[in-house]
Symmetry: C2
Subunit: 454 residues, 2 copies
């Protein structure tokens, strides 16, 4: 059984929704469909989710609610028209929206969640109606009482019972159309997931029914081995392991939101990223362990900027049990997470995303490290990029680090930091931000564009 | 003013002590002399310190105390003979030893300390007597009431007042001969320093009198850039910074005990390692900042084995604030110190000296990391070496990492770990132990033996 998820551009208008129907029809294994709200149809278009945020705003500020509500309903009406459906579904959607607009506003955050989630919810109803109209037996299923999530104030996540509740979807005879992006607490309060929330819904459904495959339909043929904004027509990745994807996602290789794949990862369910507009293309498969032997040791190279380095030096540091731990504790007490901690004998650096720092927090950290850890030198440096070379094939490739270092040094850039863990799936270089694109190109040339000799 | 320290082989017999006198005479700046106990005169010889341990053992086990005591006194008698001194000093030494033998044995550790320290103490008396006999005005000074140390049970270190107490030595008209290796608590209890203790004494004296230079006399011309047991006639180091020396000492480059230079380091006093047997050779200078420009970016390469790697993997690890800190806390609670913590996005490795681990402590750590941190994979690997390339000149040498990686990969060995901090004074490679010597040779060839192009 396959669980499919269709992103916003894949369900943005009638033409796209027809493609979705054809995709579902073309493989009887595709039994469960998670859908997003209608996305952009062209560059300057406004997504339904943004229209809904506008609506919620109007309601809360006593603005022109009627107009804003019509903007939303009209998008669905247009789709309904073009799909040749009767307006019954639009009436259902309009009524649903009106009800949400007059719902409880005592918790603004929850009110906005409720309005926003209608985008996916009503699109799922519409798509189910369309499927049935063309003879594809389908059923809209609400997350209510099924996809149970935790209470406020923690970030939204599915409770273990959600997986139990959703199991039965494996045995229904109709195609299931399920709205992405939200669930309900045990008390019936609607809560939305973090960004990329429809990906999570699809992932939860795939895990609940123990799917053989989770197909994630979007608008690109596959994941690229490097940022196509910097590298001209980078190599497409056919197969990538979960670990490789995680290592790449670290440095700006935004395929999925971090947590989106957690449910399928835990069960080892493979994921296939595919293009709704070119469904016969193989796409990119994300797998627990590699099934094919790639022609090269490196799977992808990612780069991300906006990093700072906290440098701490103290004579005889390495004789002090607990020094590293105390340093990390001080950082933790500022609610700051860190990326790497390269160290010498008497110094340790902590690589931190700069957006977590303020002049005040930096000052507090420097002061505490000086006073509490009696460090000889403590200071922050800013403006670094991290460049990750990732590939399971790097594990036993002796010359790879040398090739990477040589490629970087040929650009004239200095290597500020090298980090290679014992996992050997990734090699991370810290460099000055201004060299980032130049180095990315040099590394891409070294590992993808040239004939490799190993 | 120069403070000199002479090690065991430099004061092992009359011939050596005459060399010491000549060294002192040849430069009027040399005003304070810290001395060790007489060391080995030839390969199979027994050091006085070991004879003293034998004596202490015989006293505690009711063995042949008379014979053991004579073994010690005879060594001094032999020296006295050859120096042409009268036996008064030997009587002083014999009486001192007898008094120590009958001293309080309620704390065995302190009793042994008291016997052992007589080696340095009596040698200082003897050397002062010799100096005076040849017209070099000298004065033995006991550490008592001057070099004040902390109380048990902590490791011995000098209290701040020791530096105050010893200041006056700068203004005495005689050459000061001061025994190395021990101090006294405020209550007058003798305590010895850790191994390399005479180095610490010299260092404390140099700091107390704010010396211009601390000369450390031993039996080699200088410090080598790599282990001469592995590399044939390695390049001698003329000048090395404190930081370089620290980075090298990490991996088996045993010049000084870690803490020995702390007092002079704090004041930025340069150290000169020199050879008693070839005092006109320049030796190796340890300096706060480099005064000469070396011809190569690398100052030294050291290698050390016996490392283990704790590998921890957890999906989404990098989203968890506090993960690294909690991991280090578990290790700290086993009283284990660590060397490096290279990390990927979802994994972190902790490099630990294997001699700190037992099967039981490994099991406890693995269990706690699994249970408390919910890690997906936790295990130990053993049998690693760490190889450090060190040099202040590496800071702005872009191609250096590439050259090092290439040299290692040409040996066929895999690089298990690379660690370069933001300090850039060192580059550390983790490799399998069996490749250690081969890699050390390859790196030495790369950075010292070949003509460098940068």
């Amino acid at each position: 059984m396959i669980v499919c998820k269709f992103g916003g551009t894949s369900v943005a208008n009638a033409e796209q929704i027809k493609k979705v129907a054809n995709i579902i029809k073309s493989n009887p294994q595709r039994r469960i469909v998670a859908v997003s709200a209608p996305g952009k149809r062209f560059g300057d278009d406004i997504k339904v989710t943004d229209l809904l945020i506008d609506l919620a705003d109007a309601v809360l500020k006593n603005g022109n609610v009627h107009e804003k509500l019509n903007n939303v309903v009209n998008r669905y009406r247009e789709i309904t028209d073009e799909l040749g459906l009767d307006y019954t579904i639009c009436e259902v959607i309009a009524a649903d929206l009106s009800e949400r607009v007059s719902s409880d506003k005592s918790k603004v955050e929850l009110f906005i969640d409720n309005i926003k989630a209608s985008g996916e919810d009503n699109n799922a109803k519409l798509i189910a109606a369309y499927f049935n109209s063309i003879g594809l037996k389908a059923k809209y299923i609400s997350p209510k009482d099924l996809l149970v999530v935790n209470d406020l104030p923690e970030r939204t996540y599915a409770l273990p019972e959600a997986y139990e509740n959703l199991k039965f979807l494996a045995d229904t005879k109709e195609i299931i159309v399920f709205p992405g992006f939200f669930g309900y607490t045990k008390e019936g309060i609607l809560r939305t997931f973090d960004r990329g929330g429809s990906d999570i819904t699809g992932s939860i459904l795939a895990a609940a029914v123990k799917a053989d495959l989770y197909e994630n339909f979007t608008d690109v043929d596959s994941v690229f081995s490097a940022n196509p904004k910097v590298i001209n027509q980078p190599v497409e990745i056919r197969e990538i392991t979960y670990r490789e994807m995680r290592e790449l996602s670290y440095a700006g290789f935004s395929v999925f939101h971090d947590e989106a794949l957690m449910p399928v990862f835990k069960l080892g369910i493979p994921v296939n990223i595919k293009n709704t507009n070119n469904p016969t293309a193989p796409g990119t498969r994300i797998v627990p362990t590699r099934t094919t032997t790639p022609g090269r040791p490196v799977t992808g190279i990612s780069a991300d900027n906006g990093f700072s380095i906290l440098y701490v030096q103290k004579y005889l540091m390495n004789r002090e049990i607990g020094f590293g731990r105390k340093l990390l504790q001080i950082i933790e007490e500022e609610y700051i997470s860190f990326e790497h901690t390269p160290s010498g004998v008497d110094d340790i650096s902590v690589i931190i995303r700069s957006n977590q720092l303020t002049p005040e927090s930096e000052e507090r950290i420097v002061k505490r490290v000086k006073e509490e850890l009696h460090a000889d030198d403590v200071h922050f440096n800013h403006g670094f990029s991290m460049i990750s070379i990732v590939g399971e094939g790097m594990r036993n490739n002796t010359g790879l680090a040398a090739r990477a270092c040589a490629a970087i040094s040929n650009t004239g850039a200095n290597i500020e930091m090298i980090n290679q863990g014992s996992s050997e799936v990734s090699l991370v270089f810290g460099v000055l931000q201004k060299y980032e694109n130049q180095i990315l190109r040099a590394l891409y040339d070294e590992f993808f564009a040239t004939v490799t000799t190993c």
